[in-house]
Symmetry: C2
Subunit: 112 residues, 2 copies
């Protein structure tokens, strides 16, 4: 999960993922589209690959990279667990705060 986020957090890698959304692509193609140099692209692809975000298929001299859905799926599931936060108004804030500091006696006003 963290690894997925770290991989996506780099702008160039994010861009690569966006490119791959259209379909699998060889490295050279991405080099042209991204305006990066080949070694950089290969390196970023390595990170994405280690994070399980992409898959390689060898086609003669070239390597065809494709997106792997699993990590993105996992990320989506994680975010979905937050949905209750913006759907149910869970703002039972006061009870939480009261519980935190048991030593505080009264002091009725919340603000100052």
């Amino acid at each position: 999960m963290i690894e997925t986020l770290q991989a996506l957090a780099e702008p160039n890698r994010f861009h690569i993922v966006e490119l791959l959304r259209e379909g699998p692509r060889p490295v050279g193609d991405m080099v042209h589209r991204l305006g990066l140099r080949q070694p950089q692209v290969s390196k970023h692809l390595r990170v994405l690959s280690d994070a399980g975000l992409v898959d390689v298929r060898v086609d003669a001299q070239r390597r065809i990279y494709a997106l792997r859905p699993a990590p993105l799926k996992e990320l989506e599931v994680w975010i979905a667990t937050y949905r209750r936060i913006w759907e149910g108004n869970f703002q039972r804030l006061d009870s939480v705060l009261e519980g935190l500091k048991a030593k505080e006696k009264k002091r009725g006003r919340t603000s100052r």
Copy 2:
């Protein structure tokens, strides 16, 4: 979007967000739970705040931090656009590859 990912990609910040899922909390509370020191927590909260992931509310000397749904929502929407990738099998790979290199004449076998 990138900023959201960068903010979440740091393990401690990710942890903070997880904590805040249970509800708003003052800094000191997180300091205890995370086992980090107060300046670090404040610094991470700063990053999260700049990314729009959290919101502050002043209560006397303490600051109550709460999650802000917007960025997570946005992230979820982004990921959702990828769903067609793992739902529809978009693997019209061959057409893509053929289109890429127009100079390649024939060479019928795909693999090697």
